[in-house]
């Protein structure tokens, strides 16, 4: 049983019992290979008899239609963007993640609020303000930070889905084209993640290596977590 622990007050109006599941978070910039690893982890855990639920930013049924529409319009200003994402995050945490953990699932979270506050701070938000917004957040059992240098990220994006307006931080108009803006934006994001490593106990994983090497590292760490838990 994992005692539910929060970064702050949590949800004071709600009784949350011990959560038998595990919350595993994969963090890192765009193009770092999070979703590939999540798919591998899911298969591996299921093969070993653990039920898995996955989640990721912007998947809340409450906010998804409105947030997608707002992003398409490119009219979202920084604080509004930040709080819209916080709403999405809170809805998934209360209505998906916590119930799944309560039912004993392994929840694989593609990003957590760390990404959101990194983006907020890069967009000029006050770092304390941004952190305090997430005082209701549950402390995960394990957080991996997948790290790669800019060259690796650029190469993956170019050969993958291509440059995206928001992933390049074009809304804050640091540069006049997608490539320069992507480099500048993601460099600042990496800096923010680095600053959070100790504060949030990230396990840093070198994500410039082949997929199976990264997967092996993640698996080793998760195995340790499983061994510590009594599953009788």
């Amino acid at each position: 049983m994992t005692k539910a622990r929060f970064y702050g007050a949590g949800f004071p109006y709600k009784e949350i019992s011990d959560l038998p599941g595990k919350l595993i978070v994969l963090e890192g910039t765009d193009g770092v290979g999070r979703s590939t690893q999540i798919n591998l982890l899911r298969k591996w855990l299921e093969k070993n008899g653990f039920a898995v639920s996955d989640t990721g930013l912007r998947r809340s049924p409450l906010t998804q239609p409105g947030l997608d529409e707002a992003k398409r319009g490119h009219t979202l200003t920084p604080i509004t963007l930040s709080l819209f994402y916080a709403t999405d995050f809170a809805d998934r945490l209360e209505n998906q993640i916590i119930p799944a953990l309560n039912a004993g699932f392994f929840v694989l979270s593609d990003r957590y609020f760390y990404s959101i506050i990194a983006r907020d701070i890069v967009r000029g938000a006050d770092p304390d303000w941004a952190r305090n917004v997430y005082q209701f957040a549950l402390i995960p059992d394990i957080v991996f930070l997948l790290k790669a240098d800019i060259e690796t990220l650029v190469s993956r994006i170019v050969h993958g889905r291509g440059f995206d307006y928001w992933e390049s931080g074009m809304d804050i108009k640091m540069k006049d084209n997608l490539y320069d803006s992507f480099v500048e934006y993601q460099t600042r994001m990496i800096k923010q993640f680095d600053a959070m490593v100790d504060e949030y106990n990230f396990i840093v994983i070198d994500a410039t290596r082949p997929v199976k090497d990264i997967f092996n590292d993640l698996r080793q760490q998760i195995k340790k977590l499983i061994i510590k838990t009594d599953y009788r």
Partner: protein, 242 residues
């Protein structure tokens, strides 16, 4: 004053009205708006929960009853942030008088009444400024409820705090929930320097007192001029015309 909130450093003035439902604040701010406009001031009026960007999400959450106290709080803060970043802040910088029918304090009062942490929600709204004038319409609960039940057709689900399971009876739930909100407002009087208006007085008497307070904050003040090439409509229907 709460130290998380900065005083308004802009040229414009920020005047807000707060109070529980049925305290008569909307009537008063409407009269204030017309008066300021007739005096040739650049005035902008904004209502709680009116951002077009957030509207569909609020609608969905309310219709499907999907909100928890935390998500309800966050979506209202998102709505406020959109209005803050795109209207309040630029217009305050430009030197406009902003009249807000409800402000961050509504979020603080309602959300704490719903059970979220008081510090957490204060942080949420702390990008907003301490207004130049906050008019708090103080009224006994029974008087407010009587006004609402005689004038309005139906109290809505979230308005009545039905999501909190306080009572099966909507009117009873509304009463308990409004009492909690009232308690929160009373706690904020000193914290946020509310000017208390006795909302049991006549509409005219209240308006006289309000105009006196507003005159004080506008003394020797030059706001944004109204260009003499355009004529604003004579005080009606042009509330969001800026």
């Amino acid at each position: 004053m709460n130290k998380m909130y900065k005083r308004n450093p802009c040229k414009g003035k920020l005047i807000v009205v707060e109070g529980i439902d049925g305290s008569g604040k909307s009537t008063q701010i409407d009269l204030l708006y017309k008066w300021l406009q007739s005096k040739g001031k650049s005035v902008y009026f904004s209502e709680w929960n009116s951002s077009p960007l957030v509207k569909s999400t609020t609608r969905l959450g309310k219709d499907q009853r999907m909100f928890t106290p935390t998500t309800f709080s966050l979506i209202q803060a998102t709505d406020f942030a959109d209005r803050w970043e795109n209207h309040f802040l630029p217009l305050l910088k430009a030197g406009v008088i902003i009249l807000a029918d409800r402000y961050a304090f509504t979020g603080l009062a309602r959300d704490v009444a719903r059970g979220v942490d008081a510090f957490w929600v204060r942080n949420l709204y702390s990008f907003a400024f301490q207004p130049d004038l906050t008019l708090y319409f103080q009224i006994p609960l029974d008087t407010a409820i009587e006004r609402i039940t005689t004038s309005r057709a139906k109290i809505k689900y979230y308005e009545a705090g039905m999501d909190l399971g306080l009572s099966e009876n909507k009117l009873e739930s509304f009463r308990i929930f409004q009492q909690r909100i009232l308690d929160e407002y009373e706690r904020m009087i000193d914290e946020f320097e509310f000017k208390v208006i006795d909302a049991t007085k006549s509409v005219h008497q209240q308006q006289k007192e309000i105009r006196e307070l507003v005159r004080n904050i506008l003394k020797d003040w030059q706001g944004l001029a109204i260009p003499n090439t355009t004529h604003m409509k004579n005080g009606k229907g042009n509330k969001t015309g800026l």
